[in-house]
């Protein structure tokens, strides 16, 4: 079963490759933010599955942090776009 977990973790990291390309290319900053949000989602999933792969439940907490606070940059950027001044 741990082999399956490791394979899923690996696959979630491989999914980041097109997102990194979009992050490097992205014509506007908002495109980069969309890619960044998806990267942090994938990172949270990878952390969950690495915790199951290594059989250490203590690794689960960074996933909670990642998916609960990674949207702060998006909110700040959206506010910045809409009102100009922070």
């Amino acid at each position: 079963m741990t082999t399956i977990y490791g394979a899923i973790c690996l696959a979630e990291i491989v999914v980041m490759v097109p997102l990194l390309i979009r992050l490097a290319l992205g014509p506007t900053v908002s495109d980069r933010i969309v890619a960044l949000n998806t990267i942090s989602t994938q990172a949270a999933l990878a952390v969950l599955f690495f915790a199951a792969f290594a059989q250490r439940p203590i690794y689960l907490d960074p996933a909670l942090w990642l998916c609960s606070f990674s949207y702060l940059g998006t909110i700040v950027w959206a506010r910045f776009l809409e009102r100009g001044l922070l």
Partner: protein, 93 residues
């Protein structure tokens, strides 16, 4: 399996760090820096340091880019007049 995950995370960290240097737009570079923090925290987890990963998530992936965004916003709004240029124009698709 473990080594593949390790090296992939390392490659992701290097690629996003290079992107953070090469992107000319300041806000875009901040986004690449945030991506580097996220993948670096994943690398810390893989190498078995969940405490470092905690601090890296909070500082490197969230607080530092947010502070940079706020700082860049303040500076641009006070110094330059043509504040329409937020990097939202883009060239080509």
């Amino acid at each position: 399996m473990f080594w593949a995950i390790d090296y992939l995370c390392l490659a992701g960290v290097i690629v996003s760090a290079i992107a953070a240097i090469r992107i000319r737009n300041l806000n875009g570079a901040v986004m690449a820096l945030s991506a580097m923090g996220t993948i670096l925290s994943l690398l810390f987890i893989v190498l078995g340091a969940p405490d470092d990963a905690h601090s890296e998530v909070v500082v490197g992936a969230i607080a530092l880019p947010t502070l940079y965004l706020i700082a860049i916003g303040k500076v641009r709004a006070h110094v330059t007049d043509d504040s329409d240029d937020l990097g939202e124009v883009g060239e080509g698709r």
